[in-house]
């Protein structure tokens, strides 16, 4: 096994996902097969190759910090399950 049950549980914590007890073995096995497939990238040596993050090798463009459109605050807040005034509401974090 390239990836075990404990590691899958840890990945789920990092990804903010829950893996149920009834599914964990199946998920571990499917992730293991994916990792096995991925491992083929180690077949060749790439020490002197520059990583390619963007197919055009473009660098992140910055724009001028100018006000260019009206605020959509109300429209965007309306999409939340729970919002009040200018805030998104979540369960109490600090008593």
């Amino acid at each position: 096994m390239l990836i075990n049950r404990k590691e899958v549980e840890q990945i789920a914590v990092l990804a903010k996902l829950r893996v149920s007890e009834s599914k964990i073995d199946a998920i571990t096995s499917s992730l293991d097969s994916v990792v096995d497939m991925i491992n083929h990238i180690n077949e060749i040596e790439t020490d002197n190759v520059k990583p390619m993050a963007n197919p055009m090798d473009a660098v992140q463009r910055l724009r001028a910090d100018e006000v260019n459109e009206i605020s959509h605050k109300e429209q965007l807040l309306a999409m939340a399950s729970h919002a009040d005034d200018d805030y998104f509401l979540v369960p109490t974090v600090v008593e």
Binding site: E7, L14, S30, S33, V34, M37, M56, Q75, M79, T92
Partner: protein, 483 residues
């Protein structure tokens, strides 16, 4: 009433042989009679269409119309359509209403196209069979017991079954070309950066690209020309001039150098290989010169892709936290419970698998060994293509190792991922590529992939159009549709 392409529809509209409303009614009627059995649409948008029908008719009546004015279109349901639902095939966005139009939607609206509906798709564009949609699998009109391919399966089926002459799609690793091939339609993905990603729900940002499905290369070229534009709202948008991709359609391809990857051809099952070879032979009949090319790193493309795409997916999909928009679980006990249950209940199995693969690849200790390594492989693949294009103008290749397969045929993820072995390499290199129909094997469509060098959309469209001038494969339709 059936039209042979956009030019014919536009001519009928401009000469008042038919009104935009009458045209719309034909497609609307077909959608109501066929869309349910094929499950290819998530939402039909009559309110949106109504307004656009009126405004496009007004443009025609005042002689201000262009070739796309009044032409119906269906958008893949990951393109935001202002004030209308955009679900991305997911429970997570089931009730999401777009606050703005995607730039490509805006461009096509401005051209006067009429949005009729939003097409079904694999959840968050992750899949090669359309079995991953929260709204159920899309069926292939050629055989409803088989998949249409994915992830833009709904869009491919809409065009294949005559429910709209045009549909948009998106392609990350083959999501336009593979369903186009499996459904017998023409589909193109332009070069990375050509079409704005603003308002297109993100899966893998360095790969995602919008494109078009139509019945012919000519129709694809007309729509793509209006769809693509430099967009300041997308920081990865290519700063290149808008181009008329149909400008070279009628050029002869005599003397054009067409690259063939023998290794790929040899790996095909015999019947698909024969059909593909015959199609390539037709290019030779048109005067093209066939030249062998090698892509020595391409065999590692699927492995590298399944590091890069899930890594970008895990980052992009971290925005779905149940707080600001999208699905929220019932009665969360605390903030972490809200995050975890909203995501666990809102995402489907394949999306969760890719988030986990990406999270793993980006986690401490693995970043260099997997993510950077995969990006290095990506560069080698891009260099393979650059080298090949020193000797050829276009590469002709298979699209898919098989024709449409039955539902539930691929039980494990890895066998599904291998469906994209011929489409992923050009995606990693960001190249323009398309699929055109080249005939049937056991009564199921087969496609040919045409890959161009960076920003050379007009060359692959030229080759495709010339092929479609001497063949009728792109006119073949499944029995019982287009009626």
């Amino acid at each position: 009433m059936e039209f042979n392409g956009i030019r014919e529809i536009a001519s009928a509209l401009h000469t008042k042989e038919i009104s935009v409303q009458e045209l719309h009614d034909i497609y609307h009627q077909r959608q109501y009679s066929k869309a349910d059995e094929l499950n290819c649409l998530i939402n039909i948008t009559p309110e949106l269409a109504k307004q656009q029908i009126q405004s496009s008719q007004a443009l025609i009546d005042s002689n201000q119309a262009n070739i796309l004015t009044g032409i119906p279109i269906v958008h893949k349901d990951l393109f935001c359509t202002k004030d209308h639902h955009t679900t991305c095939g997911s429970r997570m966005l089931e009730n999401f209403v777009s606050p703005y139009d995607a730039t490509i939607v805006d461009n096509l609206n401005k051209a006067g196209m009429v949005t009729m509906a939003k097409a079904n798709m694999d959840e968050f564009a992750m899949g090669s069979s359309n079995e991953n949609s929260y709204f159920g699998a899309v069926k292939n009109p050629w055989d409803v017991t088989r998949v249409p391919g994915g992830s833009s399966g709904g869009s491919a089926v809409v065009v294949a079954s005559g429910l709209s002459p045009i549909a948009t799609g998106s392609d990350t690793g083959g999501s336009i070309r593979q369903p186009a091939a499996l459904c017998g339609v023409t589909g193109i993905k332009p070069s990375y950066g050509r079409a704005s990603r603003y308002g297109m729900v993100a899966f893998a940002s360095s790969l995602d690209q919008a494109g078009v499905f139509a019945r012919s290369a000519e129709d694809c070229s007309i729509v793509l020309s209006k769809m693509c534009s430099y967009d300041a709202k997308d920081s990865t948008s290519a700063q290149v001039k808008q181009e008329d991709f149909s400008k070279n359609l009628n050029q002869s391809i005599k003397g054009l150098k067409v690259g063939i990857v023998s290794e790929w051809m040899d790996s095909l099952p015999e019947d698909i290989r024969n059909t593909t070879t015959q199609a390539i032979q037709k290019l030779q009949d048109l005067g093209a010169e066939l030249i062998e090319v090698e892509l020595p790193t391409a065999h590692l493309a699927v492995s590298a892709y399944y590091v890069i795409a899930p890594a970008e997916c895990s980052s992009n999909l971290s925005r779905f936290d149940g707080v600001r928009y999208g699905y929220q679980c019932e009665n969360p006990v605390d903030l972490n419970d809200l995050y975890v249950r909203s995501r666990t209940e809102g995402f489907g199995d394949e999306v969760k698998r890719r988030i986990m693969v990406g999270t793993w690849a980006l986690s401490a200790g693995f970043y260099d060994a997997y993510y950077l390594k995969a990006q290095k492989i990506r560069r080698l693949i891009a260099q393979d293509f650059s080298k090949a294009f020193e000797n050829v103008d276009v590469i002709a290749a298979p699209v898919s190792p098989e024709t449409a397969f039955e539902f539930n045929a691929k039980k494990d993820p890895v066998s599904m991922y291998q469906e994209d072995i011929y489409t992923i390499p050009s995606s990693l290199a960001g190249l323009p590529c398309m699929s055109i129909p080249i005939g049937l094997v056991n009564e199921l469509p087969v496609g040919l992939q045409l890959i161009g060098h960076n920003l050379q959309e007009s060359i692959i469209l030229n080759v495709a159009h010339q092929f479609q001038q001497i063949t009728d494969f792109h006119k073949q339709v499944a029995e019982g549709y287009y009626e």
